[in-house]
């Protein structure tokens, strides 16, 4: 039997509850991308050859660098929580800043990558793309939507960290009250996990 919170306690300090809410929200995020993965799976099944050709066009190096960036940012995120819980506020703040910077670097990289594609005339509904064959249209359609949606999540994550930075500084988030930061961390890690799947599916599988 799980322990329910006794109501007479101050219930705004219900950490387990707060985390539970966050996890439930993450479930919806997983399924949000899940819907896209269903599409990806079906179209890949229907047009294996086109997916093969199209995937070759993506820059594996850029993708790999971005994977490293995001994994590292996940590390710094986790470290910032650990630091806070060890009551090393300054260190925690440093890690938070690094996390944000890595997130920004990820987005910068994406910008370069998308820019290159668009420069080559590959963007939704472009004349060049339409001439490429149906599977490739779908591949790039999925590519833009999925990486775009993922990028949006990274951007939101950075926004959330700005708040966390402020909260940590002002002491709202502190050693004995770190659940906000932990929840922000959970979100960031999930965004990372999604990328862990996007990376092989778009860049590696040839």
């Amino acid at each position: 039997m799980e322990d329910t919170l006794n109501n007479t306690a101050e219930h705004h300090r219900d950490y387990t509850g707060a985390k539970m809410g966050m996890w439930l929200f993450l479930f919806t995020e997983m399924l949000l991308f899940g819907g896209m993965f269903i599409l990806y799976a079906v179209y890949r099944f229907e047009y294996p050859a086109d997916f093969h050709t199209a995937a070759k066009e993506l820059d594996t190096t850029l993708g790999a660098v971005n994977t490293l960036i995001l994994l590292t940012s996940s590390l710094t995120m986790a470290l910032s929580i650990a630091a806070l819980q060890k009551n090393r506020k300054r260190l925690s703040l440093v890690f938070q800043v690094v996390t944000m910077l890595l997130g920004a670097a990820f987005l910068g990289n994406k910008y370069v990558e998308w820019g290159a594609k668009i420069h080559h005339g590959i963007y939704p509904n472009s004349g060049h793309l339409l001439s490429l064959g149906k599977g490739q249209i779908l591949f790039y359609g999925l590519y833009f939507i999925m990486t775009g949606l993922h990028g949006l999540h990274v951007l939101i994550g950075i926004g959330v960290f700005l708040f966390m930075f402020y909260f940590t500084k002002s002491g709202t988030v502190a050693e004995d009250n770190s659940v906000k930061l932990e929840n922000a961390g959970l979100y960031w890690h999930l965004v990372d996990i999604i990328w862990v799947f996007l990376f092989p599916l778009f860049y590696l599988i040839t």
Binding site: M1, E2, T4, L5, N6, N7, T8, H11, D14, T16, G17, M20, G21, L24, F25, F27, T28, E29, M30, L31, L32, F33, G34, G35, M36, I38, L39, V42, Y43, E46, Y47, P124, N125, L130, G133, K134, G135, I137, L138, G141, L142, F144, I145
Partner: protein, 537 residues
């Protein structure tokens, strides 16, 4: 009674407490679950009124073949907007956000939900979604005309204002997700001491099952609708056959959400029914555990039957067979509930007040809707009746005859708790009579006319379908009378009804232990629970 009258000036509970804000702001910025429940209740009523008005207009158009009162494109927009409002703004949020919000903390012995501010946010998103939906009617290129299903590629090609309507549904989806998240956490974390899983009222069980469906199914709809918008703006091609996309895949994604959604609609309604029966039969409910688990069962199996909406859409025959088989499995937990309800009347001491009257008609109408659902789910018969008015009849029986009737039952049942006053019993029964008769006159002929082959979403029809359509339209007027009576009675009783006292029905769940209307933080002292919810000795 006399004593009650003396108490007229008694505490008006959460109605007068303003929480540091005044007037309107004390409502629209409240975090009190009861006030939020009331906010939802009123907004639902507004959208419901809009939806039924569109319904009656459609019936008027269909009273005879050919053009009667509107053009074909107006008709197409009207059934779309009717469907969108009814589904996304009325019946999916429906019972959980209004009665659920109000009662969940009360029934489990908590002071509020786990995340009161998110609860408010969820209402704001709901209102935003509603406003966007209404905007889609009056701006841009005119109201959407795709049907509530937004099937591609038509929804991508049509020039009407589909994007905005779809966006509205997207926003409403988030509202729904937040509510689900909130409820699950509340039920896990905030149960009163001693309130074990098998001591929570069965309404809470249904809210729990529903919340999981909301969390796990809604995101799929969100992404699908987002794709429609992107498709319209950027021509991504994911559902456009000319670019390799597969319109059937759109249908898969749509129904992966929208079938489970029908259980978001009905399961809480079943919970309301389960609360009411023992109270009016003055006996414990029959088969508590079976009813509790059947809610979970319906929710779980309901995830994997979506293909039954697509039997004629060109999916593989193999998957049709499997989806059909799974569809039938839902009948078993539904049956468990029905049989347990009937058994809960056995050897009771029954008084047929309005709530029970609605409950009994719920069981009757839901059985018709459910059993015809099985006819839909049968492969050989679905092929013929798919896309006809038979389906229209089926879903009005389950949604209106089922969910909405249970909603009415619940509103009557908890009315004294929410408002502290009693409605007029005689008028309520009269309204019920009109509703029940009107309902059947309106929708039953649709089964026949659908069986004869009249397709749905038809602005015009062949003369051979005239008689039944005429009868059906007549029914809509009787129904309208019933609805107006119902709402008039309730609205009047909010101010003029007799003071009800804290427990007029002799209910045994926790909400009846607090004053009516309940005070701000519900319980002066959190109760300790020592037994199951329906204990009559």
């Amino acid at each position: 009674m006399k004593e009650d009258r003396e108490n007229r000036k008694a505490d008006r509970g959460f109605w007068i407490y303003e929480g540091g804000k005044t007037g309107l702001f004390s409502w629209i910025f409240t975090t009190d679950h009861k006030r939020i429940g009331i906010l939802y209740l009123t907004s639902l009523a507004v959208f419901f009124a809009a939806g039924v008005t569109f319904g009656i207009l459609m019936r008027l158009e269909l009273i005879s073949p050919g053009k009667t009162i509107m053009s074909a494109s107006t008709y197409n927009s009207i059934f779309t907007v009717h469907g969108v409002i009814m589904i996304f703004l009325f019946i999916i949020p429906g019972i959980p956000v209004s009665l659920g919000n109000f009662l969940l903390p009360l029934q489990i012995g908590a002071r509020d939900v786990a995340f009161p501010r998110i609860n408010l946010l969820s209402w704001w998103l709901y209102i935003a979604g509603g406003i966007i939906a209404l905007l889609s009617l009056f701006t841009g290129t005119g109201p959407p005309d795709t049907g509530w299903t937004f099937y591609a590629p038509y929804s991508i090609r049509t020039g009407t204002n589909v994007s905005l309507a779809v966006f509205a549904a997207f926003v409403l989806g988030f509202s729904s997700i937040l509510t689900g998240m909130n409820f699950i956490t509340t039920i896990h974390r905030l149960r009163a001491p001693g309130m074990t899983w098998f001591r929570i009222p069965l309404f809470v069980w249904t809210l729990y099952a529903t919340a999981w469906v909301q969390i796990l199914a809604t995101p799929i709809l969100a992404i699908t609708l987002l794709l429609i918008i992107l498709e319209r703006f950027f021509g991504m091609g994911l559902f456009d056959p000319a670019k390799g996309g597969d319109p059937v895949l759109y249908q898969h994604l749509f129904w992966i959400y929208s079938h489970p959604a029908v259980y978001i609609m009905i399961v809480p309604a079943m919970g309301v029914v389960t609360e009411i029966i023992p109270v009016f039969a003055r006996r414990t409910v029959f088969g508590y555990k079976a009813i509790a688990f059947s809610s979970i069962g319906i929710a779980a199996v309901g995830f994997f039957v979506w293909g039954h909406h697509m039997f004629t859409s060109g999916i593989s025959d193999t998957s049709k067979v499997i989806f059909s088989l799974l569809t039938f499995l839902v009948a078993i937990p539904s049956g468990i509930k029905v049989f347990n309800w009937v058994a809960s009347l056995y050897k009771g001491s029954i008084k047929v007040d309005t709530p029970l009257l609605y409950v009994i008609s719920f069981i009757f109408l839901f059985c018709i809707g459910g059993l015809t659902g099985l006819i839909n789910g049968t492969l050989a018969t679905n092929i013929h009746i798919h896309g006809t008015h038979f389906i229209v009849a089926h879903f009005h029986y389950v949604m209106f005859g089922g969910t909405a009737f249970a909603f009415f039952a619940g509103i009557h049942y908890w009315f004294p708790k929410i408002f502290g006053r009693m409605y007029s019993e005689a008028r309520a029964k009269l309204a019920w009579l009109f509703l029940f008769i009107g309902f059947n006159v309106l929708y039953f002929p649709m089964f026949i006319v659908g069986w004869q082959g009249m397709p749905r979403r038809y602005y015009d029809y062949l003369p051979e379908f005239h008689n039944l359509n005429f009868i059906s339209t007549t029914g809509s007027w009787i129904l309208a009378v019933g609805l107006i009576l119902l709402f008039a009675n309730l609205i009047r009783s909010v101010r003029k009804g007799e003071i009800a006292g804290s427990n007029p029905w002799k209910g045994t769940t926790l909400e009846w232990t607090v004053p009516s209307p309940p005070p701000v933080e519900n319980f002066e002292e959190i109760p300790t629970v020592t037994h199951g919810p329906y204990k009559y000795e």
